[in-house]
Symmetry: C2
Subunit: 340 residues, 2 copies
Amino acid sequence: MRFIKACLGEVVDTTPVWLMRQAGRYLPEYQELRRQADFWTICHTPGLAALATLQPMERYDLDAAIIFSDILIPVEAMGVPVEFEPAPRLPAPIRTREQAMALRTPDPATATGFVLEAMAKVRARLDQGKALIGFAGAPFTVVAYMVEGEGARDFIQLKTLMYRDPLLIEDLLARVSAFTAAYLSAQIDAGANAVQLFDSWAGILSPEDYRHFALPWARQVVRQARRLGVPVIYFMNGVGGVAEVLSEVGADVIGVDHRVSLADAIRRIGPNTVVQGNLDPGVLLGPVGLVRARAFEVVQAGMAAKGHIFNLGHGVHKDTPVESVGVLVEAVHESGRRGQ
Amino acid sequence: MRFIKACLGEVVDTTPVWLMRQAGRYLPEYQELRRQADFWTICHTPGLAALATLQPMERYDLDAAIIFSDILIPVEAMGVPVEFEPAPRLPAPIRTREQAMALRTPDPATATGFVLEAMAKVRARLDQGKALIGFAGAPFTVVAYMVEGEGARDFIQLKTLMYRDPLLIEDLLARVSAFTAAYLSAQIDAGANAVQLFDSWAGILSPEDYRHFALPWARQVVRQARRLGVPVIYFMNGVGGVAEVLSEVGADVIGVDHRVSLADAIRRIGPNTVVQGNLDPGVLLGPVGLVRARAFEVVQAGMAAKGHIFNLGHGVHKDTPVESVGVLVEAVHESGRRGQ
């Protein structure tokens, strides 16, 4: 698999490409699916999750599928109710020791069997040359959600607890790390060829707090997942302030958002790390000529790294024209070949 | 004035300090004022804006006051209605040439006379050793608001236009730059001892787009304001990806958010620039011992720069205990002296 080779820094015929949120609302076939079932129902129904996962693979020559799921699935599995209105919200956020102690660390095979079943279905139907990526939220990001109860700009509930009761936050991080490692392990057993850890909210932290509350826990989960023999990708939204320490996470691949230039990121992360990224998803709203030109630039910049997997710096936006994604995937493969 | 000396890189007896949103909802006296008038009314009433500006100056030994106002005041002055519900929203965002051409570039003395009057009142009542800071949004940030109609996470309307009709965006940037320069000039005439340009939304851009759509316009406004003989501060929220190019803005002082370490920022921006920042505002929600310790670290890191003005990396949060702000201001002045 081209994607797996690139993750390991091996020579590939061209730059592999997949896109965060490649299965989603910009696709008319996904919109159609959503008329039959809501987002959370699709996540919980193996047949539908597998269908959503495969939709972009049928339309585009993407090198990897990522299982259609959500980083809040493990939160629910640990016993915390999740609601959608339509943004996700936890009606009972975790802010006390009693609540922390009541969290479950269940067997992923039973608590998240529907995800594993979806993965097995996808792996069985996916072309052998294409990879299946499993994923989970990184411990800090999951704990941020658990404590705050929703995505927020300043995460003030979380920070208040982080500074007033760091031991409680560390206890939560330890519990979430344990379940996350087990959950990723189960995904690998179910057929994942690689796993990605999303530290979507770690970018709200100062570098000092990042090194304390995010990095060590991500590293622990990465270490456990890597023992199972598949490449591990670590994506943090907002690497600009901490690029120099990211190699300490120990992942095979470091995802890079679009608020840094890929050339700078490679230099700052270090030349011995494979990078993934980092086109601004907004570019896909522009004319296809611009999509091709910017894709070419990112592919060229990626050549300076030990290895490069093309992706966006963040998820595909719902207003993205479906044709532009096709143009992008072709442009990446073509630019990657030209550069060889 | 200690603050102005520090802006110019001159020797000061201790590190000066002011805080973004130091006048605001965490203060009970401001809450009291808000029971009499809403935010937008306070902005438009010179006596009330002056009162709000001076409230934190009476409570704390801050080195500078910043005029109580909003970056949307120039948007309104240019003829675009602004509503609050309670977040600011433009009912008719600017997305066409016709709308752009209909924008006014009025005389700030008439269109924003209430701000200038508030500034004169504050300057007359402020201790002579304390500076008064005027401000405006940087052109990119103001245009982002005008086009999007509200603060947003991905600014997809803006990016669509940026990529599909860059000339329209540049036309808007030119118009906003012209008015912003005139507006800052009027503030300096009215008594501002320094001005700050807030590029609050520039952090959503890739470095390539930042260099095209944000930096040159900020530089143009900075250059015009500096000709009037007062120091200019440029604050961008999210410097992590573009620190190396920030000196090109040409400001006397570069503001730094808290998602980078101040030591790294100084190294990356370059040693010949005065920096302002960058304590995480969330730390003020923690115990006062932590506030003191983190303030000390930031002050120490600032010693590596040509000059340092202490500030938060973002605005004071509304849940901040009033006592903690007092502890912070004292800790900065004490740490700054100890380090001399």
